[in-house]
Symmetry: C2
DNA sequence: TAGATATTTAGATAAATGTCTAACTATCTA
DNA sequence: TAGATAGTTAGACATTTATCTAAATATCTA
């Protein structure tokens, strides 16, 4: 597993907005789509990219598919950034 | 200034590698280019994108242009990630 | 000031990306 | 089981992106 997919996934504003929505609570694909001025297949495409990057999880319950944050990769990304903000001493 | 440029800049592996190189110390454009199997104009293009995202600074000294990390935006990005890794209580 | 070195800018091109519509799959319910 | 609802997949298309070569700009030095 590489962070490369995560960095690419995070480069799109719509996808970051989806993640922000999921911070509050899990949401169905339709609920997520309703927040955007965009067709459902486009949102579905973004969800797929976020899922491939392991930034979100999905779970079908009946007719709905619920999406939720997977914070594991967020922690890994934090670690990556941390190495840049910490000044090393010689 | 928006983080959007920074997120896009960080989506490319070459650019992240450039940042990693600059973690150690400032480098000239030529020194940076020598680390990649890529023509100089391509590296120059990546440097421009990193600079527009305020992730790096540049400074000419004679014939050379020195590039160095600007950690301000890294801190802002860390803050962004932090809101995802911190579980809020109701 | 001419030539060498360092770097960027300009313009072309192929590949990747985001969006759309149409069609398909899955589930529920009357 | 037929129709409705939720969501994805497929395929087309326009835009963006990463790379290249050639040319331009900036600085140094003999």
């Amino acid at each position: 597993m590489s962070l490369n997919e995560a960095f690419k996934a995070l480069s799109d504003p719509t996808r970051r907005q989806i993640l922000t929505l999921l911070k509050e609570d899990e949401l169905t694909a339709g609920e997520i789509a309703s927040h955007f001025d965009m067709q459902k297949p486009s949102v579905s495409h973004h969800l797929k990219i976020l899922k491939n990057a392991s930034l979100i999880d999905d779970e079908r319950r009946g007719q709905h598919i619920y999406y939720s944050l997977n914070t594991t990769v967020f922690h890994e990304l934090m670690s990556w950034y941390f190495t840049f903000t910490t000044k090393e001493e010689k």
